[in-house]
């Protein structure tokens, strides 16, 4: 197996397929190489597919064609202890009409569909092929070699869209050889089967409305959080842990997930469901500060491979950033072909394009968010503070009531300490 293409994309996830689609539309002969038996087979997320404005430009009727689940009309945050929970919810009809703000999706379906759109545009999808290494000719990238096959796929330029661990970027010397566990998280997820009507009733939804909820204080003291998303007839529920914190905790992700699902208020939400699938994946959560070199001679890096992931604790975005970066990488390769120059000199235009886009502007703007997420107190003391305060406010037991500011001050002093609370508030303010 050895065929000459004009560009190779490693990984048929949202970044890779968006890149391949862009280049194929421009008439380039593109190979989209995927290690799964189909695109999306290896991918998971605990999240929402947010609006993808750049894909909408390529496919104006994107939302009517893609295999989507419910649109998110209602979002919530829950502060939780072992016994209590305090919920904040936002619901708006603005998110209940097109263009919708976000959807739940199944990655094996969505990624496969997006890759097929790239194929329709003329890209060649090569599945069951794990890229092993880059091949060079006269010091220039000439293609990739495939693991376990005595073959090569050839092209003068490669887009590494091979996910968070990007061995392609590593072999090109663009990312650090060792990751910092402080900048990485792992998500574990249970897919729970549940009848559609039960989901509608339980979460107060009608038509195709969906609900997304984040949880704080459910990770057994490990830095991280929980999530619950409604699909048509299943729930995605899971936890995300920062790896530096999980490593030293001695606790296991699955035990914590079980505890989370057994917490009384969460147990009511998943009751009657049946476990259908269990999945896990690492997430690049270091933000702006962990972005690798984005371009080299004959190579570009996009999506998770480039750590383009925005985990501010409020919105959790990834696929939209991946897709946008893929499109910008694709455009840069088209330009490189016009100039017949695949050196860094031409390809660094990709970084310039990204810098000008909302992707980098968002990541730069929220570059302190990871610092906030590393405040240990967020994951225990603050949820306890909120829940205990609410219990005091609501409780009627024949004793005189304390004024609310006084109550807040007492709880803060008792659980966190005034100095810590002020410093945390400042960190959070700077982060957001």
């Amino acid at each position: 197996m050895s065929k000459q293409y004009q560009a190779i994309v490693v990984g048929a996830g949202p970044a890779g397929s968006s890149a391949a689609l862009t280049m194929a539309r421009a008439g380039l002969d593109v190979a989209l190489v995927e290690r799964g038996t189909f695109p999306g087979e290896k991918n998971m997320f605990g999240g929402i597919l947010h609006r993808m404005t750049s894909i909408e430009e390529l496919m104006p009727d994107f939302w009517t064609k893609a295999p989507l689940e419910r649109h998110i009309a209602k979002k919530g945050t829950t502060f939780m202890t072992a016994e209590a929970s305090f919920n904040v919810q936002h619901e708006t009809t603005n998110f209940d009409r097109a263009p919708y703000n976000g959807y739940t999706v199944f990655r094996p379906r969505f990624d496969r569909w997006l890759a097929e759109e790239a194929v329709k545009a003329g890209a060649t999808l090569i599945t069951r092929s794990t890229v092993d290494d880059l091949i060079y000719k006269n010091d220039r990238i000439a293609g990739v070699s495939i693991l376990g096959r005595t073959g090569q796929i050839k092209a003068p330029v490669v887009i590494a869209a091979d996910g968070v661990l990007s061995f392609t970027a590593q072999k090109a010397g663009l990312r650090r050889p060792k990751f910092n566990a402080d900048q990485m998280a792992v998500g574990v997820k249970a897919l729970i089967d549940m009848p559609r009507e039960m989901i509608d009733d339980r979460f107060g939804l009608v038509r195709d409305q969906g609900f997304a909820n984040e949880f704080v204080g459910c990770t057994g003291g490990v830095r991280g959080g929980g999530f619950l998303y409604t699909n048509y007839d299943s729930l995605s529920i899971g936890l995300v842990f920062h790896l530096a914190s999980l490593r030293t905790s001695g606790k296991t992700p699955y035990d914590l997930l079980n505890e989370f699902m057994e917490q009384p208020q969460v147990a009511k939400l998943v009751r009657g469901g049946r476990l259908q699938e269990y999945s896990a994946h690492v997430i690049p959560e270091g933000g702006y500060n962990m972005i690798p070199e984005l371009a080299g001679n004959g190579i570009l890096v996009a999506g998770d491979a480039a750590a383009l992931c925005n985990a501010t604790g409020v919105n959790l975005e990834g696929i939209n950033l991946a897709s946008h970066s893929g499109i910008l990488a694709g455009k840069t390769v088209i330009e490189a072909h016009q100039q017949q120059d695949f050196s860094l000199k031409t390809l660094k235009r990709y970084k310039e394009r990204l810098d000008l886009s909302w992707v980098m502007k968002d990541l730069k703007g929220f570059r302190n968010a990871p610092k906030m997420l590393h405040i240990e107190r967020i994951y225990n003391e603050y949820p306890e503070l909120v829940c205990s305060m609410m219990e005091h406010i609501y409780r009627i037991d024949g004793t005189p009531k304390m004024s609310i500011p006084k109550l807040i001050l007492r709880e803060v002093k008792e659980r966190v300490g005034l100095k810590n609370a002020i410093s945390d508030a400042l960190t959070a303010w700077r982060a957001l």
Binding site: K42, M44, T130, L165, L191, T252, P253, Y278, V282
Partner: protein
């Protein structure tokens, strides 16, 4: 959810050739062994009695946790399975 029953609810096409190979001699000298608790599929088990680390690749979810968590560089090989092998998600 019982992690011992991982094969009942998640699909795998197991490759006989492991994609992750561990130099277990390194694990003996490790002061943390964060892989044993961090791996979401419990692929790593440490026997205190025999002072041996066991790694089983069959139920590996290819998530990357051990690759990041291991600070001793105990892997003589860490790559993804050959094309078509490994975990196969249907819905997630």
């Amino acid at each position: 959810m019982n992690i011992d029953e991982i094969f009942d609810f998640t699909s795998f096409t197991i490759d006989r050739e492991p994609h992750i190979v561990l130099d277990t001699a390194v694990c003996v000298g490790c002061d943390n062994r964060g892989c044993t608790n961090s791996c979401p599929a419990r692929c790593y088990t440490w026997s205190e009695e025999e002072q041996i680390m066991t790694f089983v690749h069959d139920g590996c979810l290819e998530c990357g946790t051990c690759y990041v968590v291991c600070h001793k560089n105990a892997f003589t090989r860490w790559r993804y399975p050959r094309g078509g092998f490994g975990v196969a998600y249907r819905m997630t």
